[in-house]
Symmetry: D2
Subunit: 483 residues, 4 copies
C-alpha cells in the first residue's frame, strides 16, 4: 500500500488534475474546496482505518494475487469471511463518518469486473482477465481509489441504448484503433468521482446484439483528456460552502457521497485497460453482480448512519428532558429495530455467499436485493421517527450567526436551551446534524443508490422460484405435481 | 376589508416596523428581503383570492358581527358550511402556492379565543368577550393578518411552567398595572410572524392554579416595543437568499411557512387587549380548541401540497418516458390515495362540527386529531414515493449556474434531457421543486405543526370512550354491564 | 312498514320458502337453523332499531314517493343529511351486532338502480323508472329485505362475459318472451341472501355492445322457481352449528354476513320487474354507483365492529392486569386512530354527496373508494393489534366442554383466570369473541366485500385528475400550461 | 438413534400414556385421534428427514458427547455452521409441512439448559451439568421428542411469581425430599406437548431472591403421575375432527403446532433429573437464551410456511386467469420480499453466533429478537396479501359436502371453476389451504410464539447500546465525550 493513511491519500489527490466544475467554476483542489473537502475527508477515513491498530483487521486484507497486505477496498473477496468482514467494515465507517465514504463503488466494480473478465475469457478465448489482474495489482499496490462508473443518463427511458435518438445517452465506443478505443457518453451520480484516482467504466444494463458498441468495460484515469466532471448540488450546500460550521450540520464529512457527472468527450482508452469490448451477453452478468454487491452494502453502511442518528436523537431527548418518557423509548426501540433489520440482510447475504468460477465470492443475490429494497423504506422511516423525537425546532432554528450575535445571541441561547447544565450550542449542533442526516439528499441516496426500488423488485420476483413454491403447495394437498 | 388584494397587503407590511433579525442582521423590509419575500407572496395569495371572482365564494365570508364582507381568515365559523368552506379554501391555497400560506394560525386563534372569552365571562362575570369582539371587528375591517402565538420554548420538558428554573421558558406576566400588563417570554415556530400585523398570544398548555401568571391571552401589534423576531433557517435557504431561481425550487412561494422566534422582553399590553388573565381552568380549553381547529386544517392544506407534488411527479415521469409503466401508475395511485385519505378527515371533522356556547362552531375533536396524526405519517410516505418516482438525480443534479455555463452548459443540457421535445430546463425545474417539497424543513412542518404526534395520541386515547366500547363488547356476549 | 320489528321480520321469513342447501342438506327454516339463525338475528336488528324510540330518527326515513315512514334501508337518499344519517346508522348497527347486518347491499342496489333507471329512460324513452318506483313502493310498504346481487362467478378472469367458454359464468338472458325474460347464471358471495325476501339482480361489470344479454337489472323473489342457494362455510362454523355458546365466540349474531351462492337455473322474470335489458352503456354506471355507495358503507359498519373489538381487548387487558401499561394504551390508541380514520372517509364522502338527475344523492366517488381501500388495510392492522394485546391463549384455549368438565374443569378455571374477582368464564368469552372477530372469514369480508382492493385503485387513479394536478405544478414554476 | 424414522416415532408414541383431554374427553391414542394425528404427522417429518438421503446432512448431526449420529433436534450447537444448518432445516420442514413441526421447542430448551447448567455449576459447585449430559445422551440415543415447557399461566400480570394470590400461577416446588422434589403449577401453550416423550421444565421469567421455589429446571416424562394435558381448540377444528379432507385445508399436517395445557398436580421429580433448584440469578439467563434461540427459529420455519403460501396463491392466480396481471406479480413480489427479509435475520443471527462457556453456541441476541419482532408484523402482512390475491370466495366457498352433493354438486363444480382444464376441486383445495394458513390460530402463533412482541422490544432497547451510539454522534460534531 503506497498510500498508507488518510493524510497521504489527501496528498495524493493533489497530484492528479481532473477537470471539475461546480456552480460553473473550476475546482482545482478538491481537498481544500469547501464543496468537496468533506467528502475527501470521509473517503480518507477508509485509508485511516487501515493504519489504525484497532481496525486494520477489518480495513486491510491479504491480496490473493501478490500476498501483500492491501486495503480491503481493493480486495477480491475470497470467501464468506471476507464478505462478512466487509459488512462490518462498512458499518464501522458509517459510524465514524455518519455519511457515505464512497469507496465501495469501486470495490464492487472490481469484484464484478474481475469475475466477469474470467468468464468472458473462458468463453471467447480473450485475455481480459490477465489485463484486469495487472491493473488490479497496480491499484492494490498503489492503494488507489477507484470510482465504479455504471449509471448512464438514459435519455428517454422507454427506449434502450440502440434506440435512443441521441446515442450518447449510453456511453459507447465511437472509434476502434489498433492501440485502443475512443469512448463517448457520460456517467451520472458518480459517488466519490471527484476524489478518486481511477474510473472503472461498466455498462448500465443488460444489452442485446444490437448494442455491441455499448458493451464496454475499461479503466481510465480521472484526468484523462476529454473527461469533465460536474459536481452536483446538495441540500443546504451553501452552508457547507460558506464554512458555517454548526449550520452545515456535519461539517467534517458532509451528509452524502458527493456525486458528480463524469462526461466522456471522446476519451481514448489503451488496449491494456479494456476488459470487455462487445461481449453483450455478459453485460447482464456484470450489472447483476455489481448491483448485488452494492445492494448488500447498503444494509451495512446505512446501519452505521442510523446508529449515529439514533445516538443523536437519544442525546437530544436527554437535553430536552424527555428521554425517560415511554413513547420516546418505544420510538428509539423502533429506530434500532429497523436498523438492525437492515443489518441482518447484509450479514445474511454474505453468510450465504458463493464462489464464482474465478474464485471471487458473490453475495446471495436474493437476499442482497431484499436488503436494498428495505433500505428504500426503513431509512425514511428511521428519519421520520428521528424528526418526530427531535421536535419542530429542526425546521425553525435560527442560524449560527444569530447564536453568536451581540443583538440576539442572548435570546437564542436562552430560548433554545434545554435541561440546565448543557450548553445551547450542543443542542443546536445535534439539531443541525439531525437536519442534515434526515433532509432530502441524504435520503434520496438511500432510495436510488445501488439501483432504484423497482430494480430490486424485478430481481426478487425473478429469483423467487415460483414454480418450486407452487410444487410445495400442491404436494401438501395432494394435487399431482408435474416435475 | 380595507386591504383589498395581494398588492395592498404587501404594501401594508411596509407600514409596520417589527424588529426582525435573520443571520444576525436586521430585515427592514420583509416584502423585499429574499429570505422573507416568498412567504409574503404566499400569504398575499389569501388576500388575492378574496378579490378573485372565481374564488371569493370561498375566500370571503359575511361577518356575523358587522354584516360586512370580510376575509374568511378573520371570520368566526357560524355553521358546518363555514367549516367545510374553510377546508376547501385551504386545499385551494395549497394548490396555488404549494406551501404554507400561514394565515390559518391566526384564524384558528381567533376562533378559539372568541369562544373561550365568552365562556370565561359567563363563569367569572368578566368582560373579555366584548373586548375581543371590538378587537376582532378591527381585524375584520382592516383585514389584518394575525399570527396565533402559542408554542413556548418550554426549557426542560420534564417540568411544567411553574417549575422551570427559568420562568421565562413560558411566556408570563411580570407586572400588572392599572392600565395593562407587562409580559415576558417567547413564542417559537411563529409561522407568518414576520409578515403579520398582529400577534394573538395564547397559553401553550393546560395549567393549574400555581400558574396564574402564565394564563394569559392578549393581542399585541408586531411592532410593539420589546418585541424581537428572529427568522429561522430553512433547508437550502441560501439558494433562496441568492435568488437562484431554478435551484431554490419554489422561487415564488418558498417551501414552508417562514417561521420565527418572537421574543417578548417586557412588552406592555393595554387592558382592552387582554382576553384572559389568570383563569387557569380555561387554559386547557383554549389550547384544545385552537389545536383541534389547526389539526383539522392540515388535512386540507397539505392535501393541496400533495396535489402539486403528485402533478410534479406525473409530469416528470412523462418527461422521462416512464409514465406508462404499471408500477409508476400504481405509485401515483398511492400518492393520490393517501392525499385523499387526509382530505377525508378534514371534511369529516368539519361535517361533524358543533356549536360552542358562544355560537362559534368547533370541529369534531377526535376526527381533527386523527387527521393531524395521519399527516405525520402520510406526508412522509407521499414524499418518499415522489422521490422513488423522480429518480436519483434529485440528489445529484448540477446547479443552474452549470446549466447556463459556457463551459459545461452543453453537457448539462445533453445529459439531463428526457424524451425529445421537452427542454432540459423543465426537467430541472420540476426536479428542484420536488427537492424543495420533499426535503427536510417541509416535512418537519407536517410532523410538528399543530402539535407533535404524541399530542394527538393523548387526545385520541382520551376521547376514545373506552368505557362505552367495553360495554358494547360485554353486551354482545352476555356479560353483565354495570352502567 | 308492514314488518314493524325484529320479531315480525323473523316471522316473515317463515312465510317464504327459498331452496337453500348447506353441507348438502336443505335448510327449511333459516330462523331456526344454527348456521343461519345468527345472521337472521343480525338482520333483525335493522328492523328492531326502527321500532326503538332511541334510534328511529336514524333507522327510519320518510319516503319521497309516498310520504310514509319507512325503514331507512328502503329509502332513496334525498340529500346529504340522508347520507350522513346512513353512516351513523351503520356504525350503530355495527356496534350493536359486532358483525355484518347485511341489509345495506339491497339498500345500495336500490339507490343505484333507481338513479340509473331514470337515466336510461331519459335516453331511450323506456319506462324502467316507473316500474322501479312501483316495485320500490312495494318494498317500502312491506318493509322487505332485498339482497343486491351483483358478483358473477367470472370463470376465467382474463376474459370478459362474451368471451367465456361457458356463458353462464356471467348471469344472462337465455330467453325473451312477451311477458318477460328467462335468466341463467349465478351470483356469488350473496350477503344476507338466505334471509332476504327479494333479489335485485344487477350486472357485475361495465360491458360493451357484444354483451347485451348480460346487461340486465331485475327483481326476483327469493323463492322463484329455478333459484337455488348454497350457504357457504365460515371459519369455525361447526361450533356455531353445534350451538357451542362460548366457543362460537359471537353466539347471537355470528362473525360475518352469512354468504350464499344464488344459482339461477332458467328463472322467469315478468316484464314489470325488469329495470334494464340490454342497455350496455349503463352497465358501468350502475356498477360504479352501487360500488361507491357500498364502499362508503364500509367505513361506517366496520368502524362499529372495531369499536366492539377495541372494547373487548380493553376489557381483556383489565382482566389480565395489563391495562395500565404504556404500550397497551398506545396500541389501543392506534386501534382507535385507525377506526376513526375509516369513519372519516365515510362521513366525508357523504358530506360531499351530490344529486344525480333523478334526485337520488350519490356519495363522492373518490372518497368512497379511498374509504374502502383503507378498510382492506386497517381492519387487518386493527385485528393484528387486538391479537397482540389479547395474548397467545386466543390460539390455545381449551373448549367450553373442558371448562365445564368434572375432570379438568378445575384446571381450566384455575389456569385461565386473571385478576381476582372476575370469573374465568368472562375471560374465555371475551377471548372467543376476539378469536371470531379477527379470524379468517371476518377479515376476508373486509378485503373483498364491495370490491377487491385493485378495483378501488383503478377508480382512484381514474378520478385523480392528473392533468389538472400537472397544471398546478407547472404553474408554480413557470412552465407554460397548455389548457 | 433408536427411533429411526417417522413410522417408528408414531409407533413410539403408542407406548407412552399421558393423560390428555380434549373437549372434556380422554384421548388415548394421539396418533389416531383426528385432533392430534395431523400434529403427530408434522412432528414425524422431523424424524423422516433424518432418514432421507437427500436431507440427512441437515436433519442429523454428530453428538459432541458420544460421537454418534443423532437427530439435529437433540444436538447442542457446536459452531456457527450448526446454527445455520438448523435454520435451513427449519425452513425445509416449514416447506414440507406448511405448519409448525413442534420439535424446536425442546431443541432450544436443551441448548439453553445445557449452557446454563454448566455456568451454575461453575459458580455454585453443583453438578447439574453432568446430570444434564446424562439425560441428554439418553434423549439423543433414544431420539426422543422433548417439549420445552416455559410459559406459566401468570394470573394477574401486574404481579410477579411471589406476589400472586394463587402461587400455582407460576410452577413451583411444593416439597423437597431426599430423593427429589414435588412440583405444582401449569405450563400453557405447550406446542407438541401431547406427542412428546419428555417435558423439560424451565422458569418463565427472570426472578429475584424471593422466588427460589419458582426457579426450577427439570425433566419429567409426559406420563409421570400428576400430569394432565388439555388440548386446545383451533380455528375450524371440527372440520379436522370430522375428517373433512378438503374443508380442513391442510388435512395432513394441520395449521398450527397443536398446543396443550400441561398441568402439574404435585408431580415428583427425582434428583438426577433436576438441573436448577433455586439459583434465581440464572433464571434470567435461561429465559433469555431459550427465547433468543426460539425467536431465531421463527424467521426460518415461518419463511417455509410463507413459501408454501406464496406457491398456493400463485397457483390460484393461474387457475383464475390473473397470474399475468402486473399488480398480481407485484403483490407476489412483496410476499417473497417479506419472507426473505425474515429469513435474513435467522441467517444473520446464526452467522453472528458465539460460544457460551460450555461451548454451546448462542445466536446473536439482538438479531434474533429483531427476527421475531418482524415475524409479528410480516406474517400478518403476507397473509393479508395472500387473501387479497385469492379473492372473496375464501370466505364464502360451500363445503366439500356440497361439492359432492347430487343436488347441488353440479352448481358448485360449475360456478367455482376457473380457466378450463383445471378441476374445480383443485381450486377448492388451494382455497381451503389458504384459508387454514391465514386464519386466526395460525397467525396468533406467529404473534405470541417465542414471546409476545413487547418482550422483543424490551430486549432490543436493552441491547441497543444507546450510550455507545450517543458517543458516535457527539464525536461527529465535536462535543466532548466523557468515556
Amino acid at each position: 500500500m503506497k498510500i498508507k493513511n488518510g493524510a497521504e491519500y489527501i496528498d495524493s489527490l493533489r497530484k492528479v488534475h481532473p477537470v471539475i466544475y461546480y456552480k460553473a467554476e473550476r475546482i482545482t483542489d478538491v481537498t481544500m474546496h469547501p464543496a468537496t473537502a468533506p467528502h475527501v475527508r470521509a473517503a480518507a477515513m477508509t485509508y485511516a482505518l487501515a493504519d489504525d491498530e484497532e481496525y486494520k483487521y477489518l480495513a486491510t486484507a491479504v491480496s490473493h494475487l501478490t500476498g501483500n497486505t492491501i486495503s480491503r477496498f481493493t480486495h477480491v473477496h475470497q470467501n464468506v469471511e471476507d464478505l462478512i468482514k466487509k459488512v462490518k467494515l462498512l458499518r464501522l465507517l458509517g459510524q465514524k463518518t455518519g455519511t457515505c465514504f464512497q469507496r465501495c463503488v469501486g470495490f464492487d466494480g472490481i469484484n464484478a469486473a474481475y469475475s466477469v473478465a474470467y468468464e468472458i475469457d473462458r468463453k471467447h478465448g480473450t485475455s481480459y482477465f490477465e489485463l484486469f489482474k495487472d491493473w488490479l495489482i497496480h491499484i492494490q499496490d498503489e492503494n488507489l481509489m477507484v470510482v465504479g462508473a455504471m449509471t448512464d443518463p438514459k435519455g428517454d427511458r422507454s427506449r434502450g441504448p440502440a434506440d435512443q435518438p441521441d446515442p450518447d445517452q449510453y456511453l459507447h465506443i465511437v472509434d476502434r484503433r489498433d492501440d485502443g478505443i475512443v469512448i463517448r457518453g457520460a456517467k451520472l451520480h458518480m459517488t466519490g468521482g471527484v476524489n478518486s484516482h481511477e474510473i472503472l467504466v461498466m455498462p448500465t444494463t443488460a444489452m442485446d446484439e444490437r448494442s455491441k458498441d455499448f458493451a464496454v468495460v475499461c479503466a481510465v484515469p480521472v484526468d484523462a483528456p476529454g473527461i469533465t466532471m460536474i459536481f452536483g448540488r446538495q441540500a443546504s450546500d451553501d452552508r457547507r460552502d460558506k464554512m458555517e460550521r454548526i449550520d452545515s450540520g456535519k461539517p467534517s464529512f458532509g451528509a452524502v457521497g458527493g456525486e458528480a457527472v463524469i462526461a466522456f468527450e471522446d476519451v481514448f482508452v489503451p488496449k491494456e485497460r479494456i476488459f470487455m469490448d462487445g461481449e453483450t451477453e455478459f453485460t447482464g452478468t456484470i450489472v447483476y453482480r455489481f448491483a448485488a454487491h452494492h445492494r448488500a452494502n447498503y444494509g451495512a453502511c446505512k446501519t452505521g448512519l442510523m446508529d449515529v442518528l439514533t445516538g443523536a436523537v437519544s442525546y437530544l431527548t436527554q437535553i430536552q428532558g424527555t428521554s425517560k418518557a415511554s413513547q420516546v423509548k418505544d420510538k428509539i426501540t423502533e429506530m434500532i429495530h429497523l436498523s438492525e433489520t437492515l443489518y441482518c440482510s447484509s450479514i445474511a447475504c454474505s453468510a450465504e455467499g458463493w464462489p464464482t468460477p474465478s474464485g471471487a465470492f458473490m453475495v446471495d443475490t436474493m437476499l442482497a436485493n431484499v436488503c436494498k429494497q428495505n433500505v428504500t423504506r426503513f431509512h425514511f422511516e428511521v428519519a421520520r421517527i428521528a424528526l418526530d423525537l427531535a421536535g419542530g425546532f429542526i425546521a425553525t432554528l435560527p442560524s449560527q450567526y444569530d447564536l453568536e450575535s451581540k443583538d440576539v445571541g442572548h435570546l437564542v441561547k436562552k430560548y433554545f436551551s434545554g435541561v440546565s447544565g448543557i450548553p445551547t450550542e450542543h443542542r443546536m449542533k445535534i439539531a443541525r446534524m439531525i437536519e442534515a442526516m434526515t433532509g432530502g439528499t441524504a435520503l434520496v441516496e438511500s432510495m436510488h443508490g445501488a439501483g432504484s426500488p423497482q430494480a430490486q423488485r424485478v430481481m426478487i420476483f425473478r429469483e423467487g422460484e415460483l414454480e418450486k413454491k407452487i410444487k410445495l403447495a400442491k404436494a401438501l394437498i395432494g394435487i399431482p405435481v408435474k416435475s
